[in-house]
């Protein structure tokens, strides 16, 4: 196993399960930037999403999110990952949670949902979290110092 060193460890190809459906994930670095390009495929539904996420790649950040991913065939269709964790004791594993709500989010400047009054108008929204689990397609090998 290979332990986490820095945020660049996110880069790689993964296969896994997205709320129980077969999925794949490719994370690559946008050339010479601190931006990650995330390409996600829901294999069972034959849907593909992509997005960008900025993080200092030399930092010790092992948690990304929230991440917006847009349908590559319909930019109006997006999914939202609230958190994506690279496992720090073995970077061959990634897991997290996807977020979905029955209501649009109208977050007021105060950050307090009660200030919107929307729950009185629309009723409480149902918020759902869905599981995400990936393993690296080709396991990372430990770096051996000379």
């Amino acid at each position: 196993m290979t332990q986490f060193a820095n945020a660049e460890d996110f880069v790689g190809e993964y296969v896994g399960v997205y709320d129980g459906r077969q999925a794949s994930l490719t994370i690559s670095r946008v050339k010479e930037t601190d931006t990650l390009q995330i390409l996600f495929k829901d294999v069972d539904r034959n849907q593909e999403y992509e997005g960008l996420y900025s993080v200092p790649l030399g930092s010790d950040i092992h948690t990304l999110g929230p991440i917006n991913l847009y349908d590559t065939h319909d930019a109006n269709n997006a999914i939202y990952w609230s958190i994506l964790n690279l496992h720090t004791w073995d970077i061959n594993y990634l897991s997290g949670l996807s977020f979905w709500t029955t209501q649009p989010i109208f977050m007021p400047p105060t950050g307090n949902l009660e200030d919107t009054g929307w729950e009185m108008e629309y009723g409480w929204a149902w918020n759902w979290l869905f599981g995400i689990s990936f393993a690296r397609r080709i396991p990372a090998t430990p770096v051996v110092n000379p």
């Binding site: 129980g20 964790n85 949670l97 979290l129 599981g131």
Partner: protein, 140 residues
Amino acid sequence: MGRAFESIYDMQGDYSGNYDGRPCDLTISFEGGEGTVTVQLSFHDLERNMYFWAPNAGGSAVLGQYPVDIPWTQFHTIGNIYFWEVDSDGNVLYGPNHGGAHWDSLAIHTWNIDYLSGVSEWNGQYYGMSFTRKGAPPLG
């Protein structure tokens, strides 16, 4: 392949998994059923050989006790789970050398209940976990 999610009771079972990169085992069981139900989790960090037990995994107003009726059973996520550190027989370990654990969220995958994913929290940071069911899923 496991079946689709039907109710929170689908979480019952034995799992093996990966906890922030370390292999682990997890058992989820439900106690009670008349009006309230208690979710219990037993967790074994195999690499560190540490055991944890959450006797009433909940964190809501009444710890771990949820109404059995709809809509709670529709939910496929539990959260704010506090664990005690225990020995291999399940006895709670007290003292400065023993601690607990806190899981922020644990979700069963709704299209295939053989999978769980979650997030633990420690010292203000979040860590990932994922599990795969061992054996057959509970009857629907």
